[in-house]
């Protein structure tokens, strides 16, 4: 954990290329509003703009190289002045990275799988000329002849409502003017001119609930904090403190929503936290300080957040006397040191306080006694960013989509065996089926969907027969899982549910802090039983035993990690009991995953003797000559899967 070396204001105060003015420091809300007006006046919305999706996965796919090549081409073709080039945050359609969007007069053309060698042609045909360049357009998997040019018509985007993620598609996260141009920090200015109680009223009215998993109403959390601040420091001479904390310790394996917002739109978090700080402490004698606790595995997110913090300080949007309001607030970054349990709010607080991340007993809740014993509001990245939307566009706008009890949109990382993997944002209440089939395009393999998992190690698996349920907090809980922070993992028939349950229990077991026995010992016991089952040594009574232990852990554990860790097992037993029984009674793994229960064989009819498997086998367990029949020696075979991966003719079978 570290409060990183933070740049001084001067380093970040850069002259505005957009308006040709010097560095801006806003002493009044009017000065900010006037500057935003000047930016808008000087901005030509119809200007030809080329956007490269540059989140971590985009960069991993080569976005930086594509961007550099584009920049060279822009120079070569002398496009400066006529077109703008930007490296933005993640556009979400990770399966098609590197993504390049060409915006011309409000129309957006999406180019997929762009490589540096394509850039010259792309610029010539799609940027300098009207385009589009057919070759790189989106191709629906069901029909290879069709090309979709318009970004909004690509099924992956068509069914989404990208509100929270909108800026990810539009702004260069390192360019402060870009954020201001979208009305950035006007919500903060508005908040500072609003009574804190009224502000909290807006948040309550919007129906915003915590986006980190549990779904506690954010407005009520803020209100409770404020009451505690008022009662704790009421009439006291000495100044008290309170804290707003952002939980960006996105530990759920299979989830990257928060990272994407931090990378692509860091100012939204800062603005949201500043609004929250005013709401809980404005007009009281308590000073409010902010912390962002972020995973150390997210270097790009940390870098962008640091830059954004420095920009905000330089512009008088953080620090002393923000916008001349008399209100002061600043944020420090704390880097996590790799402990999943620190996603639990009290463990996170312990970690900021420089101790091992063991959770505290609740109550007192952090709103009463949190960081250093002071009232603390702790929210997820998406919750903070949503607060900006509520203040900016009004609670009615926020609540205009969603269900009765779950308002707004939710961001999911749609991953696993789905065709269109990526980051999506949909209104609460959309059915799982619409999400997976409509946006996700079904499974990658074309095989039927078997289950979908939400909520990470705290959630459960929902079978394909229940895909008609809508995603909201209550429906998912009823189905035996949780909303979680937004991981959504699709599974097909080649995913073994027992193995999946074992995987999650293993995560829970490894990450248990060890403070309480039910979680520490119970998860080990469960893992042992699951191990026995997947190894073919399961006993008939093990299923009931797993359920019993699971219920004990759920009821007796100290914190949320233990209380939810048995969910993956309990939900898979609930919906896929027959798969457990197949492992135990028939010693079979229907999905062909559990190594001890499968054998590898070569289908003599499909094998054409290409000899590739023979070459790949690391233990020489395959016999056969080139162009002749091949065979796997089952005794020598270590079931590593190399031959299965190597065979281009589907001749290797897992039985």
């Amino acid at each position: 954990m570290s409060c990183c070396s933070e740049q001084t204001g001067d380093a970040a105060a850069v002259a505005s290329p957009a308006t040709g003015e010097g560095p801006q420091r806003f002493d009044t809300p009017e000065a900010l509003a006037a500057y935003v007006e000047r930016l808008r006046a000087g901005h030509d919305e119809g200007l030809l703009t080329v956007l490269v999706s540059g989140g971590t996965c985009g960069l991993a796919a080569g976005a930086r190289e594509v961007f550099d090549a584009l920049r060279d081409q822009f120079a070569e073709q002398d496009l400066a002045g006529r077109a703008v080039l930007k490296l933005t945050g993640c556009h979400g359609f990770c399966a098609q990275e590197v993504l390049v969007v060409v915006r011309r007069g409000g129309r957006e053309t999406l180019y997929c799988h762009v490589k540096p060698k394509d850039v010259a042609e792309l610029v010539a045909a799609g940027v300098a000329a009207e385009g589009p360049l057919e070759r790189l357009l989106y191709r629906p998997p069901e029909d290879s002849q069709v090309r979709v040019a318009e970004k909004g018509q690509v099924p992956f985007y068509a069914k989404q409502q990208r509100r929270l993620l909108m800026n990810n598609n539009r702004i260069d996260p390192l360019n402060f003017d870009d954020y201001l141009l979208q009305g950035g920090y006007l919500a903060l200015a508005k908040a500072l001119e609003t009574e804190p109680e009224e502000l909290i009223g807006w948040i309550k009215q919007s129906g915003l609930r915590g986006r980190g998993g549990a779904g506690f109403p954010t407005g009520i959390k803020w209100e409770l904090t404020r009451r505690n601040v008022e009662s704790a420091f009421d009439g006291q001479e000495e100044d008290g403190h309170c804290y707003v904390v952002c939980n960006a310790d996105e530990g759920d394996p299979g989830a990257f929503m928060d990272r994407s917002i931090l990378e692509g739109n860091p100012h939204a978090l800062i603005e949201g936290m500043a609004i929250g700080a005013w709401a809980v402490s404005g007009d009281t004698s308590a000073a409010c300080r902010g912390y962002v606790y972020v995973r150390n595995e997210y270097p790009l997110a940390i870098e962008h957040l640091q830059t954004a913090l420095a920009q905000a300080r330089a512009a008088n949007l953080l620090g002393e006397d923000i916008l001349g309001s008399g209100f002061s607030f600043d944020i420090r970054i704390v880097r996590g040191a790799g402990a999943f349990v620190c996603g639990e709010e009290t463990a996170l607080i312990e970690s900021i306080e420089d101790r091992v991340g063991e959770p505290r007993i609740k109550p007192p809740f952090p709103v009463a006694r949190g960081l250093w014993g002071m009232p603390t509001t702790l929210n997820n990245v998406k919750s903070w960013a949503s607060a900006v939307m509520v203040v900016d566009r009004g609670p009615e706008y926020f609540a205009s989509v969603g269900t009765e009890s779950s308002k707004g949109t939710m961001v999911f990382s749609l991953v696993g065996k789905v065709a269109n993997t990526g980051l999506i944002e949909v209104p609460m209440g959309m059915t799982l089926g619409e999400i997976i089939e409509g946006i996700g395009g079904g499974t990658q393999s074309g095989k039927p969907i078997k289950a979908v998992q939400t909520g990470g190690p705290s959630g459960g698996c929902i079978p394909a027969t229940m895909l008609d349920i809508g995603v909201d907090y209550e429906s998912l809980t009823k189905a035996g899982t949780i909303m979680g922070s937004g991981g959504m993992i699709v599974m097909d028939e080649t995913t073994c549910m027992v193995d999946t349950a074992k995987y999650f229990v293993h995560v829970g077991m490894e990450e248990s802090c060890g403070k309480c026995a039910p979680c520490r010992d119970g998860l080990q016991h469960m893992h042992h039983l699951l191990d026995e089952i997947t190894e073919g040594r399961g006993r008939a009574e093990d299923i009931d035993l797993l359920e019993r232990i699971g219920k004990h852990i759920r009821e007796l554990s100290f914190c949320g990690l233990g209380k939810t860790a048995p969910n993956p097992v309990l939900s898979t037993i609930r919906y896929f009991r027959e798969e457990y029984e197949a492992h135990i009674e028939k010693k079979q793994c229907p999905a062909g995953v559990c190594k001890a229960l499968v054998v590898y064989r070569i289908d003599a009819e499909k094998c054409n003797g290409c000899h590739l498997c023979f070459k790949r086998c690391p233990v020489d367990a395959i016999r056969g000559e080139v162009k002749g029949p091949h065979e796997i020696n089952e005794v020598e075979c270590i079931k590593c899967g190399m031959c299965y991966e190597a065979c281009k003719f589907d001749a290797v079978r897992i039985i």
Partner: protein, 153 residues
């Protein structure tokens, strides 16, 4: 025998004493300098700051990002997040363990490779993923990984 140059952390200790900041932060800085947390450095911190060794080691062993032994020349890391798991990450771990003859978390006898697993890199869409010295290799197969490792000098 100690080959750890402790003068490298003098400035960190000075900064810690004057500027505050936490012990976890200090250990992270130490870890950044040496690529692990050397015992000598922990002892030095304990002496200089008057913090019990047990307190420092409770932090260094609780948080998984701290390594207590020097890593190999190349760092290979397999993402074992859920999305990667269902797309075959366990096979990648097995491949590395078999090829390099070490367990995940270990370093080869010649000090060339350290193999780790990580719960999630957050790049689930291109899973399974392996990073080698920080570079991402997405949608990788056991076979491709096996060949890739052979090419690392």
């Amino acid at each position: 025998m100690s080959t750890v140059d402790l003068s490298e952390i003098d400035d960190l200790l000075v900064r810690h004493k004057t500027g505050g900041g936490g012990l976890i932060e200090l250990l992270q800085e130490v870890s950044n300098r040496y690529q692990y947390v050397p015992r000598e450095a922990v002892e030095r911190i304990s002496e200089e700051l008057g913090v019990p060794l047990t307190q420092l080691y409770s932090l260094a062993t609780f948080y998984t990002s701290f390594k207590l032994a020097p890593p190999g020349k190349h760092h290979v890391c397999v993402c074992t997040g859920t999305a990667c798991h269902v797309r075959g990450a366990p096979r990648l771990v097995e491949t590395l363990e078999r090829d390099l003859k070490i367990e995940a978390g270990g370093t080869t006898a010649d000090g060339k490779f350290t193999v780790d697993t990580v719960n999630c890199l957050g790049t689930c869409a291109i899973g399974p993923i392996v990073t080698i010295d920080g570079r991402y290799y997405g949608n990788i197969t056991s076979d491709a990984l096996s060949r890739l490792i052979k090419k690392v000098e």
